[in-house]
Amino acid sequence: MKKPMINVQSFHDGREGKMNSRRKFLKIGGLAVVGSSLFLYSCEEDGITDEEINALDAKGVDNKRVFNLGKGDLGILNYAYVLEQLEAAFYTAVVNGSYYNSLPDSDRGEKQILRDIWYHEVIHRDFLKTALSSIAPPGKVAPELDFNFSGVDFSSRANVLTVSQILEDTGVSAYNGAGKLLESTDYLLLAGKIVSVEARHASAIRDLINPGSTDFAGDDVLVDLGGSGVAYDKAVAPRDVLAAVAATGFLETKIIANNLPTA
């Protein structure tokens, strides 16, 4: 039987130029969430066998080709860890890039905002790794993933801030969608402690892009609930978030989300 999986691979295949890859990402990222079906592949098509997938239930570390998030709360925490790894890796690249380093040092300025966000995402990442490592054997904890940001121009303010905005907005919608999938009130509280900080980031980045506008909590990213108005962040299911992440081409490891809770 074919097992659907989230296919995570780069669009950047050598024939595509940087711009093309980036444009593709932004186009897809701009949708924030795309139907996951486009990115579901059978393992046969990817040359990964059912046996290999099943074996991953007990093995994950040092296997950067494909990782099964697992089930239950552990699976959701692994999912959060993957997203935080992505964010931390992105901002690490940002602070090593020429755009960031050309910014003037100023209190509360753009450079400090990006540096703070970098700190926060590294802290989230390492915290989740510590937490996961204390409740699950190594094989059940997501490995340190490899990322490919060749589609991002780290010398470009517009490019860096646009990607940042997409990652932060996606993070907010991802935690919002994962909350109801958690069984433990303690994990739920932790997710709550992190998601509002991601929302603070999203707000600040959006305001850097369009200062003084309504974009910090813009109608472009919020949704309506029950006809009461556009005033709510999205809550997006893990499979849809992972599909959108896959579409960026940033993540070089295939992530299997088959065993995550869906309700």
Binding site: I135, S196, R200, S203, G212, Y232
Partner: protein, 272 residues
């Protein structure tokens, strides 16, 4: 998900009985032994299922666990407070500079929606709108809230940061009500977007640094506990010295407030 579905959920008695019923509490207590065994695991949260978590709660703080209706009315109180505050601010000629009206117009729009959503969802179980005094009269204050823009900004920040902490503090009370929990989270992060924006307009960072309070002293409770560096039973203090240190740790995690703590903050402005 729409209001109709939401109301369906609300009318589902099962929803409201999952946490509160006596029978459930007894059943949950049976799991306590299992829960104690888990306490030896370093990351103290290990594998707490809804049931074991509820058992813990039934042992330690069942009396503080609000029903979903209580939670929604608590949220509605805060949303009424915010809505009236921004409505009065926007209606006061000369208070909000032209350059800032887009921001506060957007925030007001959201608070109006949140009030309508919660009031509709609660139906005849919704509380009546309280009477507010934004000068802080009920606490003996005489704030010139609508005559002095910096004061208006300060209260705005205080309300938004309090809102974030308030919703966060009630998430656990909704864990068995998936739809309600998700709606609450969808509001929670919008409050955080507001908070970040207003903080930055006041020259603050968008994120809360330790328990630093730049609001009038009467509001220090809004930031109480934000200096926490222990997350999930792990003390992160000293672990991120190359990444902003303990200050960054406190910024990276927003902390909850209990319903009582939030009510104490809100009571400064509630006449009745």
């Amino acid at each position: 998900m729409n209001i109709i579905k939401f109301l369906d959920d609300l009318s589902d008695q099962q929803l409201f009985e999952t946490k509160g019923s006596r029978r459930d509490s007894f059943n949950q207590i049976k799991n306590v032994g299992k829960n104690f065994a888990l306490a030896s695991i370093p990351f103290a949260l290990a594998a707490t299922s809804k049931k074991t978590a509820a058992a813990t709660m039934s042992m330690s703080s069942a009396m503080f666990q609000a029903s979903p209706i209580d939670v929604l009315n608590f949220a509605l109180t805060l949303e009424y407070l915010e809505r009236d505050f921004y409505q009065m601010g926007m209606d006061t000629t000369g208070l909000i500079p032209e350059s800032d009206r887009a921001v506060f117009g957007q925030i007001l729009k959201h608070e109006v929606s949140h009030v309508n959503f919660l009031a509709t969802a609660l139906g005849d179980q919704a509380i009546a709108k309280p009477t507010f005094d934004f000068s802080g009269g009920p606490a003996g204050l005489t704030l010139n809230t609508f005559g002095d823009y910096p004061t208006f900004l300060a209260l705005s920040q205080g309300f938004e940061d309090t809102g974030v902490r308030a919703y966060k503090g009630q998430a656990g009370a909704l864990i068995d009500s998936d739809a309600l929990l998700e709606y609450a989270l969808q509001i929670h992060s919008v409050e955080a977007r507001h908070a970040s924006q207003v903080r930055r307009m006041r020259g603050e960072k968008g994120w809360i640094n330790a328990n630093n309070n730049t609001l009038p002293i009467a509001f220090s409770g809004i930031y109480a506990g934000e200096q926490n560096t222990v997350q999930g039973g792990v003390n992160l203090s000293g672990m991120f010295n190359n990444y902003g240190g303990d200050a960054a740790i406190t910024e990276a995690f927003d902390e909850p407030l209990t319903m009582a703590e939030v009510n104490a903050i809100a009571s400064v402005f509630i006449v009745s």
